[in-house]
Amino acid sequence: MDLLPFFQWCYSTPIGEAIRNSTWLFPVIEAFHLLGLGLTAGAVLVVDFRLLGVGLRKQSAAQLWANTQPWLLGSVTLMFASGIPLFLSESIKCLYSFAFWVKMTSLFLVLLFTFTVLRRVTQMDPTSDRPLPGRVTALISLALWFGVAWGGRWIGFS
């Protein structure tokens, strides 16, 4: 499948062009993107640390999941809303960037994993101990988010 025509079309969109022609649009949108990342990290870490037994150990994982889910959804929405314009402004570079594909793959996997496996594991774990499945789930989640953040930061260096 040849992706180049689609990525070229993205690059030529008015939004992409406006961002390229502006001094401050890219940095400001990127700052929103970074805020979204930090907020996502907060929502994710509260649940993952709980599953690892190093955070709010007395609370049930199910409750922490329910508490943080609106913030996770909100911050992921912010990341998409800011990430897509950033992508439009430099989509051709992204097509040839290894970091970009690492990020997109990790992002797809982590969202799938979070809303299927991780969500179920939090519902299974009402007690304050930390069973092995919970710890493994948290480590997978952290590793995948790490891939997202690493790939994201590294797009800018390529």
Binding site: W24, P27, L34, L39, T68, P70, A149, F157
Partner: protein
Amino acid sequence: MSFLSFFEQLSESPWSVALHESEIAYSLIESFHVWSLCLFFGMTVMFDLRLLGWTMRKVPVSEVIRRLQPWTIVGFVLMVITGTLLFYAIPLRSYQNIFFRTKMLLLLLAGVNILIFHSRVFPGVAKWDTDAIPPKVARVAGALSLVLWVCIIFSGRMIAYNWFDCDRQPQPAIINFLTSCVPSE
């Protein structure tokens, strides 16, 4: 010796030049800075949101702070270490960067807010520990912290894009004043 000449000398020191010119090392440090940001800012935001009564309403405030604060501290120490290295790689231009100066000022204000919270607000936590929505004074501290850290992230991200750089003259006189920049004739 003035700050200006000190940072000028620092930017000519061999280690600073090496760090500045090493693409891999500089990029890695910057990545570490972002990961630490996730840990530090993520934990701080969740605590601020709890103070505002916007999340984890059933979890006592003191428990949130006791269990999450160690992570916040780890994140902050990592941020300071990586941030200092990033500054050390580009001392003079960072010192004269208006976004860097804004960030340092905001960091100071965030520190004052934390001091006031821990000396004046948090000692009385027993009275409202389990309240779904903490009293106004705690909500104000949480909101201030949230706004300050958001602005710190913004100015931090702008440092790399400084369109008020000393070398990009002409700049308005007020900018040159605020960045201690003396444009050459």
